[in-house]
């Protein structure tokens, strides 16, 4: 098992290098001269040329990429073109804000999705099942930025209960995390329901019932354990998507996270910030996925035995 975890962590290195290369190549297609951008339009030609040389912009592409990676390993992702501050610091300062939003979003999604999914499956075709399935369909179909605006319209503009943006206290966490968690809650509900329905049809459940085990115990003890295994993957994937999808939610709520930093940076053509933000979020996404895969091994003995 330890060997497997170690192997997976090693595999993460080429993937992240690949991600860095991919994003670096994409961003190098950005038109315009960074040196000109930093110095402004009034700068003399010789000053621009000097800065280009100093920034290494005249080096071949692969040399530039190599230097970027080497500096990146030392925690140096360059400086922002607009604020002049270190990119690493800017991102690291905001990353906890993005993380807290995603974590609360996932917790909300789990707390709603799993119980509703179980109830829907055990009472298939009941009114409760129909209502929750329609709600889940709507949850999947709703763009989260629009849901965010609707929540602001209702709770901030209409009722005046909650702040419409920014990050001051715990109250400002409520709307953004609900916005972020709704889609995931819907997907987890659907997954839990279908997985539970599949498990309930199995022979060992029939055996348990035939033995006279109470229905409650059959569901909670026998069925749930197996039904939740595929749900873990979905929860992990959703958590990863929330980290990425936070871009839109953070924009709606002017949330001081990495996603919003990135959107602002794109508008001002601040390439080093965009580049580092995408690499950071992708790294977080990959680490979450790795964590889920490892967790899977712990939960499912069938998977565990393959690693030995």
């Amino acid at each position: 098992m330890h060997k497997y975890i170690f192997k997976r962590m090693l595999l993460l290195i080429p993937v992240l290098l690949g991600v860095a290369f991919l994003v670096f190549s994409i961003m190098s297609l950005t038109p315009g001269d960074p040196a000109e951008l930093i110095l402004g339009e009034t700068a003399s030609k010789s000053a621009v040329l000097a800065l280009r040389e100093q920034m290494g912009l005249n080096d071949p592409f692969f040399v530039q990429f190599g230097n970027y990676i080497l500096d990146g390993l030392k925690g140096d992702f360059g400086r922002s073109y607009t604020s002049g501050r270190e990119v690493f610091g800017e991102i690291f300062q905001r990353f906890p804000n993005t993380l807290i939003l995603s974590v609360i979003g996932v917790i909300i999604a789990i707390l709603i999705g799993i119980p509703v999914g179980i109830i829907s499956a055990t009472k298939q075709y009941s009114l409760m099942d129909s209502i929750s399935m329609i709600a889940a369909l709507l949850g999947v179909a709703m763009p989260n930025f629009w849901l965010g605006l609707m929540l602001i319209l209702f709770f901030s503009v209409g009722l005046g209960w909650l702040p419409s943006g920014g990050y001051s206290d715990w109250k400002s966490l409520i709307l953004p995390s609900i916005t972020l968690g709704t889609g995931a809650a819907a997907i987890i509900t659907r997954m839990t329901r279908s997985s539970m329905l599949e498990v309930i049809r199995q022979d060992y459940i029939r055996t348990a019932r035939a033995k006279g085990v109470s229905e409650k115990k059959v569901i909670n003890k026998h069925a749930l354990k197996n039904a939740l295994i595929p749900v873990i993957t979905v929860v992990g994937l959703q958590f990863g998507y929330l980290l990425g999808g936070a871009v839109l939610t953070e924009t709606v709520y002017s949330w001081p996270g990495v996603g919003r930093l990135m959107v602002v940076a794109i508008r001002s053509k601040d390439t080093p910030v965009v580049l580092a933000a995408v690499i950071f979020l992708a790294a977080a996404f990959s680490i979450v996925n790795l964590f889920v895969d490892v967790l899977y091994g712990f939960v499912d003995p069938r998977v565990k035995s393959q690693y030995k």
Partner: protein, 303 residues
């Protein structure tokens, strides 16, 4: 004797057989789909949206109604003259919605089409040849999968510049890996079956085998994923336009319309609410059709 058994005739016969079988499969699929009320509702809604999008120019001319600003009528609530009200520039919301449907459907279908072609080709090659080629292709796909698709799309659009073509390209690139995976998995599951061996034995080349014998058999999961993919692409388009990275004003696009109404949320909430409802209805319809197709194509649910 030799004429009857020549490879050409055998090939012809087998292709005739597949055509017949395919027709009956489609009929069977439609029969099962028709029993699914939710899927039929999805198809009906989608049909209405497509008709409105096709005849958008006849219902409300683009230049004269959907684009032209009319500031004295701005932010009007729904009424007889403007059934869905007007936006911040006094343009009819309904006219902009149906022209927006055109953009959304176009981007959604073309982006998904492109990613199915690219992803399908990569997946088919990886699955059919296996070995090193498979390893290389799938490791590259892993890298693409490690970046959340919306981030990848944002990065591509921000580098290439925000316009319709780049948006479509960005959205399709970011979903190529998922199609590559699906196609690869089904190619691997069928490439060792006897009918492929038979095709090889009569001397069909790899291209012919992949295109005529393997691809048709991998279509079912791709169609399901593609239907759901169009929904995803429409959501991404709206999301990117919302942050100013997609369709540029004054062109009507649902995400951009929504974004434009944000400032007036307090005074004219309909400008933000209505495009969102249009998105929800479209995505809902596509998801219903996708789910219905998945159930109809699932052999375990045949009875």
């Amino acid at each position: 004797m030799s004429e009857v058994l020549s490879s050409e005739n055998l090939e012809k016969d087998s292709s005739v057989a597949t055509v017949n079988k395919k027709r009956s499969q489609t009929a069977e699929l439609w029969r099962r789909l028709r029993k699914n009320n939710m899927a039929m509702a999805g198809i009906a809604i989608l049909g209405i949206i497509i008709v409105l999008a096709i005849f958008a120019d006849i219902i409300a001319p683009y230049d004269a109604v959907a684009i032209k600003q009319n500031l004295k009528d701005r932010l009007m609530t729904p009424s007889g003259a403007h059934i869905l009200g007007t936006d911040e520039f006094g343009r009819d919301m309904f006219a902009r919605l149906i022209h927006g449907a055109r953009v959304s459907l176009q981007v959604g279908i073309l982006a998904v089409g492109l990613s199915i072609v690219l992803g399908g080709a990569l997946g088919a090659i990886a699955g059919y040849y296996g070995g090193k080629l498979d390893d290389i292709i799938m490791r590259i796909m892993d890298v693409f999968l490690a970046v959340p698709s919306i981030l990848l799309a944002i990065a591509i659009v921000s580098a290439l510049g925000p316009n319709l073509l780049n948006l479509m390209f960005a959205i399709s690139i970011s979903s190529v890996p998922s199609y590559a995976r699906i196609v690869r998995a089904s190619v691997i599951s069928i490439k060792d079956q006897e009918f492929i061996e038979a095709a090889k034995a009569i001397g069909a080349n790899d291209f012919r085998i992949i295109m005529l014998h393997i691809i048709p058999n991998t279509l079912a999961p791709v169609i399901v994923q593609g239907t759901l993919g169009v929904a995803g692409a429409i959501l991404s388009t709206a999301g990117l336009s919302f942050i100013g990275m997609g369709i540029q004003p004054p062109a009507p696009e649902w995400g951009a319309m929504l974004s434009g109404g944000r400032q007036y949320l307090r005074y004219a909430p309909h400008v933000t609410t209505i495009p969102g409802i249009a998105i929800v209805i479209t995505i809902l319809a596509l998801n219903l059709v996708g789910d219905g197709l998945r159930d109809a194509l699932d052999p375990r649910l045949k009875s």
